[in-house]
């Protein structure tokens, strides 16, 4: 680049800034996100100003209202046709308002709502010193087992910060799949991650494991996001811009008005490929695909179960949304480069998750591995690179998220002296003690296993169908095999619950408040409805199957 050019660049910059036309923001179309984030901020203020006794109620109320409002906004937008005809890119090209975005945001918000219910549950643990407690530490700062902790518990402290944190996370998740330039993507990634890191550390019981989970999640997450960022940097270097549309144009070679200054770096495919790969790696980390999955079991096990449920459901949805957008909007021109790689990832993810899960002994770890396997199945749909592929993935995510939250909600119910009894051996004979809970959990497991008449089957069928249509028949076969393997360990749990004799020192099943019941109930309802009469939702998903660019 010639010195003159550089000089001119400086000089233009040095000129007195006459007038920058203010960026045009379509607040209406961004309302879902804005509502949630705004509510989060208010939540912070509540923490600051509302007396301790009433904080909990204020927070729960606020969050619930915010999520419902946001969901209403999403529905309104969708009804207004932003999902289909009016789909466009808002906020100066930063955020896309289109079918996938809205669908995923809706899913995330519902998941978030259900998650909120499980967060707010306060009936499961025995009341400590006369005040009800939820599954979060009384005072995260106090050392486990220390006097300060005792004092905090005695004083009836509760970490109501979790609610704003939850809202922040949801806010990030809402932006994540809608982000239409890499910067927004990165910011959203951090916004959704950081609160989750904290939430992981806040368990009331088993705090060491909780903190360990947080540390692992945080360090690895930061590590991954560094890769992501570097990937972004390379892409920026490749295209001279971080806007999806722009990058896509460059990739397709249909770029207009190249200024000569860029000529020598732009279109350097090495940059593109490496950058794309590193970016993809960041997203695959979030969805928990092999070999970037290793944080999943530990974090899922250590984190407070409500957090785990929410995280497992919502994060996956958001991350897959972002991944879809990246692959379909930014890198479609690169299909022939990334498809084979994704094939490999999908295959090892499906098989790896399913196989390792066989020998798990902790229910939460088991579900973690199953979530890995499912990530593999979803990837199979992602690879299809067709409209069907998108809509099938959307459908799968919707179904899956509810099953997951429901399943983890059930896990919170099964408790013994040491809190949740997550070791499988403790679950023996649960079907005898409380058939209903066991039956509900069995329904979730069958949905995971993809047995017909559950959402799991419909989703799996949709995804595999799309994949097969896309010519990925071997992938389908492997998927089928690995779901057979997966079936084995889901069934193992069912066997344990129904066919083995209950242990004398077995866990008790706590009677939850209506909130958890609602969460579980919604899970079951969605699972069965999507299993028996999925048509409406499939329509929804297929309408929402088109990205704007």
């Amino acid at each position: 680049m010639s010195a003159a050019a550089v000089h001119s660049l400086w000089t233009t910059a040095a000129e007195p800034i006459s007038k920058i036309d203010a960026p045009k923001i379509e607040y209406g179309q961004l309302s879902p996100t804005l509502i949630v984030v705004g509510a989060a901020l208010i939540g912070v203020l509540i923490e600051a100003f509302v007396p301790r006794r009433s904080r909990y109620y204020a927070q729960v109320f606020l969050s619930a209202v915010a999520l419902c409002a946001a969901f209403a906004a999403v529905v309104a937008l969708a009804a207004d046709g932003f999902g289909t005809t009016k789909a466009h890119i808002a906020a100066m090209g930063a955020i896309a308002v289109d079918g996938p975005a809205l669908f995923l945001q809706g899913t995330i918000l519902l998941a978030g709502l259900v998650g909120l219910f499980t967060f707010a549950e306060r009936r499961l643990d025995p009341a400590a010193h006369g005040n009800r407690v939820d599954s979060f530490a009384a005072q995260a700062a106090s050392v486990p087992g220390s006097d300060s902790e005792q004092a905090a518990v005695k004083a009836g402290f509760t970490t109501t910060e979790v609610f704003p944190l939850l809202l922040f996370a949801i806010g990030g998740m809402l932006i994540f799949p809608a982000a239409n330039d890499l910067l927004t993507l990165f910011v959203a990634l951090e916004v959704l991650s950081l609160p989750l890191y904290l939430l992981c550390a806040l368990a009331r019981r088993k705090r060491l494991m909780s903190q360990e989970a947080a540390v692992k999640y945080f360090l690895l997450g930061a590590f991954a996001s560094a890769f992501t960022l570097f990937g972004i940097a390379l892409l920026y270097g490749y295209a001279g811009s971080v806007s999806y549309a722009r990058i896509a144009e460059v990739v397709d070679g249909t770029v207009t008005n190249v200024d000569p200054a860029l000529a020598n770096t732009m279109g350097n495919d090495a940059l593109l490929l490496i950058g794309g790969a590193m970016l993809a790696m960041g997203l695959l980390f979030k969805v928990g695909a092999v070999p970037f999955h290793m944080w999943t079991p530990d974090v899922y096990q250590g984190a407070p179960t409500p957090v785990t449920g929410f995280m497992a459901a919502a994060t996956k949805v958001a991350a897959f949304g972002a991944l879809l957008r990246l692959l379909y909007v930014v890198l479609p021109g690169l299909r022939w480069d990334w498809r084979p790689v994704m094939w490999a990832v999908a295959i090892i993810t499906m098989l790896g998750g399913a196989i390792v899960a066989i020998t798990q002994t902790d229910i939460k770890r088991l579900l973690a591995y199953s979530s890995i396997a499912h990530a593999g199945f979803i990837l199979a749909g992602v690879i299809a690179t067709s409209k069907d592929g998108v809509s099938s993935v959307l459908f799968y995510l919707a179904g899956y998220s509810f099953v997951t939250i429901g399943a983890f909600a059930v896990v919170t119910l099964v408790r013994d002296a040491g809190g949740e009894a997550t070791h499988l051996s403790k679950w023996a004979g649960l079907g005898r003690r409380s058939p209903l809970v066991a039956a509900v959990f069995a329904v979730f497991l069958l949905a995971f296993a993809g047995i017909p008449l559950t959402s799991g089957f419909a989703g799996k069928f949709a995804v595999f169908k799309a994949a097969a249509d896309g010519g990925a028949v071997p992938l389908v076969v492997i998927g089928v095999i690995s779901s057979a393997i997966a079936a084995f360990f889901y069934i193992r749990v069912i066997v344990l619950m129904f066919f083995s004799e209950p242990k004398p020192d077995g866990p008790t099943v706590a009677v939850p408040s209506p909130m958890t019941m609602l969460a579980i109930g919604m899970g079951v309802a969605v699972t069965l409805v999507l299993g028996v009469a999925p048509q409406y939702f499939l329509d929804l998903a297929s309408q929402a199957g088109v990205f704007v660019r």
């Binding site: 005898r432 003690r433 409380s434 058939p435 209903l436 069958l446 047995i451 017909p452 008449l453 089957f457 419909a458 069928f461 949709a462 595999f464 169908k465 097969a468 249509d469 028949v473 389908v476 076969v477 089928v480 095999i481 779901s483 057979a484 079936a487 084995f488 069934i491 193992r492 066997v495 129904f498 066919f499 083995s500 004799e501 009469a533 999925p534 048509q535 499939l538 329509d539 297929s542």
Partner: protein, 523 residues
């Protein structure tokens, strides 16, 4: 839009299942009666289907068709041909007897736990299975069929793993573990089969674009839908594997002995007499209609497998020490006959096979249920623990003998007709296979008579000396079955009249005609 008879026939037991499950824990007997009444009502509906069905009418009758999952090209399409009608009737007939036979099988041991309601569950599950079996006989949409073909596994799984014989030689703990092993084995076997079928189902959709059996079959016939030979064969294998597991065909059979051994006699009957029939039925309806060429391509191998099943099953039955296992292996041998009849591709073979499904259902039910009564009395499944029962409980012994004679297909009893038809049908096209298969009848005589001799004859064992004879409830279960066996053995025409047209259709699907006899050929 007439009354959706088929839907009703399937829906009634389903609703009955829900209702039964909802009966409060204390009202155990009420649940039993409810289940029994529902099954009888279902039988009534099935009979109406039988009556409304016109053998000489169109291929699929009483059809219903509604859009279901548009995106998957799935429709809710029901329709019955003669074969389906016969099997629906069989199912509806057997279930009441199964319920009646299992009257006390699920009475809870500890009545303390208010929430644990095994009895309700047991009968609800049986009804659920009935519903799913019936609808999978009715479905003319591949996807619809597949869904229930798979879903049926779940209630069966709980029936096998959740309820076993009361007294067990090794104590309840090991019994439980063995049960769950059997249940898991059953489920995994069938699930693997089912999932491979799923891949094939998806493949079929990719090729054909919809799931309607009739549309696809017509398109195939008219040539408007072309399938590459390799594609057709792969799809065929995907389907056939699942059905072969269900059927079960050697060497995919090992789940059956465990399942039948560990489950209570009524459930064992439910498995072999009802559920497994879906597999053979599906071979006849889906494999042959959707993939005629591939079916013909695979015929030699399948026939050999069937032949192995026949002889192998019989030989193993001879070697068993456990009554239920023995019956299980006998069933494997019989399923070999059924498959052989289907793939012999002659009208005798296929009518015979269909008839065989019905008769085998009844005869196995008779034998197995009586065996169950016997076992419930002595609390052991081992043949060696019995002896001389005939002297203390002559009626039981007599019914047992009749069941056994039916199993060895004695002329005059129903199974003879079907078995002979299958043999003839096979013989006309594959003489050698037919002849070898005929050895099966000798082996059958061997295992049945050995079983009878060891259990019923000889000096009375002290343990059985106080054994009561059949009770009224048990007689009510067995007597009608025996009457059916004799009636269908003497006058099978009603069934053959219904079945023959359907078989003729299937034969034309695979473009096969019966070989001409030598004398006519000479002329």
């Amino acid at each position: 839009m007439s009354f959706p008879l088929l839907t009703a026939t399937a829906a009634l037991p389903a609703l009955g299942a829900v209702a039964t499950a909802a009966v409060p824990a204390a009202r155990r007997t009420a649940a039993k009666w409810l289940a029994l009444l529902v099954s009888l009502a279902t039988l009534a509906l099935a009979v109406t289907v039988l009556v409304r069905f016109d053998p000489d009418g169109t291929r699929y009758q009483l059809t219903e068709s509604h859009s279901w999952i548009k995106d998957f090209g799935v429709r809710y399409e029901l329709g019955v041909d003669g074969i389906a009608v016969a099997l629906i009737a069989l199912t509806a007939v057997l279930i009441p007897f199964i319920i009646l036979a299992g009257w006390h099988d699920a009475d809870p041991l500890e009545t303390g736990n208010r929430r644990w309601r095994p009895t309700q569950g047991f009968f609800a599950l049986i009804l659920a299975v009935e519903a799913m079996v019936i609808i999978s006989f009715e479905a003319t949409d591949v996807f619809l069929f597949y869904i229930f073909f798979e879903a049926m596994l779940i209630p069966m799984y709980f029936l096998i793993g959740g309820f076993g014989d009361r007294a067990h030689e090794h104590g309840e703990e090991t019994a439980a573990t063995q049960r769950s092993y059997a249940a898991v084995k059953f489920l995994l076997y069938n699930l693997v089969g089912g999932l491979l079928m799923l891949a094939a189902v998806i493949g079929l959709y990719v090729v054909a674009g919809n799931f309607s059996l009739q549309q696809i079959a017509e398109a195939r016939a008219s040539g408007s839908l072309h399938m590459a030979t390799s594609t057709e064969r792969w799809l065929f294998l995907g389907f056939f594997f699942a059905f072969a597991v269900k059927a079960p065909l050697w060497p995919l059979h090992t789940w059956l002995p465990n399942a039948m051994q560990e489950s209570t006699a009524p459930v064992a009957v439910l498995i072999t007499a009802v559920v497994d029939k879906v597999g053979t039925f599906a071979m006849l309806r889906f494999c042959l209609q959707l993939f005629p060429e591939a079916s013909k391509w695979a015929t030699p191998v399948i026939l050999v497998l069937a032949l192995i099943s026949i002889v192998y099953g019989a030989l193993l039955a001879v070697g068993q020490r456990d009554i239920k296992r023995l019956v299980a292996y006998a069933s494997i041998s019989h399923f070999g006959f059924i498959v052989m009849g289907i793939f012999a591709m002659t009208s005798q073979g296929q009518s015979g096979a269909t008839l065989y499904m019905v008769n085998h259902g009844i005869s196995t039910a008779a034998l197995m249920l009586v065996a169950g009564f016997l076992i419930s009395r002595r609390g052991s499944r081992l043949i060696a623990d019995y002896g001389g029962v005939q002297k203390v409980a002559p009626v039981l012994a007599g019914t047992f003998l009749i069941g056994g004679l039916a199993t060895l297909s004695l002329p005059g009893l129903a199974p003879f007709v079907s078995e002979f038809l299958v043999l003839v049908g096979t013989f006309t096209r594959y003489p050698v296979i037919g002849v070898i298969a005929t050895f099966g009848i000798v082996l059958a005589a061997l295992y049945v008579l050995v079983l009878y001799q060891r259990t019923m004859t000889g000096p009375v064992k002290p343990e059985v000396s106080a054994m009561p004879d059949l009770r009224v409830r048990e007689l009510v279960v067995v007597a009608p079955l025996i009457v059916l066996l004799i009636f269908l053995g003497v006058y099978p025409k009603p069934v053959t009249d219904i079945v023959n047209p359907a078989v003729r259709q299937t034969m034309s699907d695979v473009h096969k005609t019966d070989p001409k006899p030598e004398v006519e050929a000479a002329k």
